[in-house]
Homo-oligomer: 412 residues x 2
């Protein structure tokens, strides 16, 4: 069985952390200067590991093995949230690199082809999972046209500034691969609460989003009597409160919903707002609760619009995500490796967060491994995991990769 | 009786509009380059009208008559909202200038002393009615210390950048004055709806403000189960909705309340917000409803805090305003002039908006005149009034000024 090098693994993880580091966190949003710097650094690391490496036209970094036979694709994303943690995405990217090196260092696994990848814009600065969507051929013009970040920068401009205009975009060749494995931090508290060190992911929750646009009449907060107002913010508060009251009545046991972004115009204490936006996002491992939430939203908007006053428009997010299942065969390889290195300390679990594996699973058998997040904290500068869990997770992936590839190439 | 010059009045109003004009509106917030340019322009206009003019250490522009006897102070403010209308404040400032000129042009009124004023920061970029508070000696260190605008610029820095650091601040000498008159647009729809052309203000509503600071825990919107969340935005929506549900049960007939400013951190659709702010402002001509609103706020905050989860802090605004009464004697002079020029087309009314007259009335007998706002619209680029109403209002003020001063100086 291959042996990973813990020092080399942690050193490279910290080297990646340093690109865009701010305090304990990392600021490396997709296509930013720090993001592109990290991608060029990764490309050179892939090449040093013996891979043929490319940065494609959407910023995906892909390192391809020169060995023949069915390959395994391992990786995640290296872009971060606007104020992100150091392991979200980065962990799986550096695992991919280290597994390539560990297998190459062992005579028994040297010939097994492992490709490494860092996808672009998983964190949805422009389009969530932009890179993996592009790789599998599922990035539509409708998703790209008019895509802009929260400051109004257009995707096309960000691509040009990153030097990617006109650069070819790679397409996945499904015949090349036995599958895709994405290692990741859990980003939740379940493993830590249960005292487990490894999670083997059974499926990834589906996700839908709605942007509510509320249009009223801006006016003076002192002279406009209450009965005469068309206050966009007051309508927003009511809509959000009622969603939070009604969703629990149709929710599944693992449903979550969030209204984390608001815009109010002109956002001044002494002006009745004439315009507001509210983003709603909801997730579930099953389709039925997602449908039920959509129905509640439609009913509330219809009811509030029937009153007159503020007009509410519900705009569906451009890239909804269906619940996806991870491949049972790949899962069983990861489970066997987890039981070998951490007997009794692993578990099966769904992923509440979305990941590139949810996209890639539309084309390739896919699997995910989780390691614990300290305190369950993620999407925050405080995000962290214990070094021994980081090392353990990589060793489990290295073992699983060897057994997946041995099986895939033996049965041809 | 003095005759104002309609062309001169409208020409100067439009000249002031041009300083900071954007489309139909004006962007001239307190201490901005356009605001200070407008103040220097006003100072020279005051001087051309024969006044001794000064820009004092907070930016007030004051033009003093050289005539002996009790003086009348006339004016308003020339700073605007971040995206303001062209008449809010500017109307009363140019009326003051025109009344000085009209009285000086008539042999019968030439000796009557009228001072003109443009106060600073009525619109609360830093401290609402900063200039009039300073003039009457009611601007406390507590109001100034730490005062900053919505972008975090400190008042002290804004004063320095405007060239006002170390410039003396003028103090009102109550013995000099028979009173203060502030002409203003109504900023509401009442005059237009009633078919009246002049409003004589009986009193100004009181105003209190609360900033709610809500502290929860930032986390991942996919992996953090609902039961575990401490979502600052969800608490904000509930608090705001319940305020809008409960305030009507204790409100007076003219009560208004507004929650026009929200801040959510980090304000991203896929992150459970850990921090939020909500500004609540409420107004009434009487103290009792203001007290009742304060009680509702205290009860709701106590109740929500008792649940644990998100912690809510209610911070009182630094400069609350008590309801104020306009002087009956000054009102009767304005009413007589209004009846002379627009018989049957004027009315008494309270002011729902706050004005510098509410501050000055603490030291001097004060009065206000309103002209109609088209569509009741204000604090918006679309704010406007009809030329004939602008001219009529100024003539009424000129007549009233002459009769107020004749009486004040005859009875000494």
């Amino acid at each position: 069985m291959p042996r990973i090098d813990p020092d080399r693994l942690l050193t490279d993880l910290r080297a990646l952390r340093a690109i865009g580091a701010q305090g304990r966190g990392v600021v490396r949003p997709a296509f930013s200067a720090t993001d592109m710097k990290a991608r060029r650094w990764l490309k050179s690391r892939y090449e040093e590991a013996g891979l043929d490496a490319t940065i494609d036209g959407v910023g995906n970094v892909i390192g391809r093995s020169r060995s023949p036979g069915k390959a395994l694709l391992i990786g995640s994303h290296s872009d971060t949230q606007p104020t992100g943690g150091w392991l979200d995405g980065a962990l799986g990217v550096i695992y991919g690199l280290e597994v390539v090196r560990a297998l190459a260092a062992d005579a028994l696994t040297r010939a097994l082809p492992v490709d490494a990848v860092s996808f672009q814009d998983e964190e949805a600065r422009f389009v969530g999972c932009l890179g993996s969507r592009s790789l599998i051929g599922a990035l539509t013009r409708g998703m790209e046209d008019g895509a802009a970040d929260s400051r109004g920068t257009a995707l096309a401009d960000a691509l040009r500034e990153a030097g990617l205009a006109g650069v070819p975009r790679l397409r996945l060749d499904p015949d090349r691969y036995a599958g895709f494995v994405e290692p990741h931090i859990e980003q939740g508290p379940h493993l830590e609460d249960a005292g487990r060190r490894i999670g083997v992911v059974t499926g990834i929750v589906g996700l839908r989003g709605v942007r509510f646009v509320l249009r009223g009449q801006q006016n003076h907060a002192g002279t406009t009597m209450m009965a005469r107002r068309r206050d966009a913010a007051a309508a927003l508060y009511e809509l959000a409160y009622r969603i939070n009251q009604e969703f629990p009545t149709v929710a599944g046991p693992r449903s979550v919903w969030t209204m984390g972004r608001v815009r109010i115009e002109p956002n001044a204490a002494s002006i009745v707002p004439g315009y507001a936006e509210l983003d709603l996002q909801f997730r579930d491992p099953e389709d039925a609760p997602l449908e039920a939430f959509d129905d509640v939203v439609a009913r509330l908007v219809k009811e509030m619009n029937a009153r007159g006053g503020v007009a509410i428009e519900a705009i569906r997010a451009r890239a909804p995500i269906r619940p996806s299942r991870m491949d049972p065969r790949l899962q069983s390889h990861i489970e066997a490796a987890a039981e070998r290195h951490a007997p009794g300390l692993w578990q099966r679990m769904p992923s509440g967060a979305f990941h590139d594996a949810g996209i890639v699973s539309e084309r390739l058998p896919s699997a995910m491994l989780f390691i614990p997040s300290i305190g369950g904290i993620s999407h925050d500068f405080a995000e962290d995991s214990r070094d021994e869990d980081i090392v353990l997770g990589c060793q489990v992936i290295a073992d699983a990769a060897a057994s997946i590839l041995a099986e895939a190439n033996a049965t041809r």
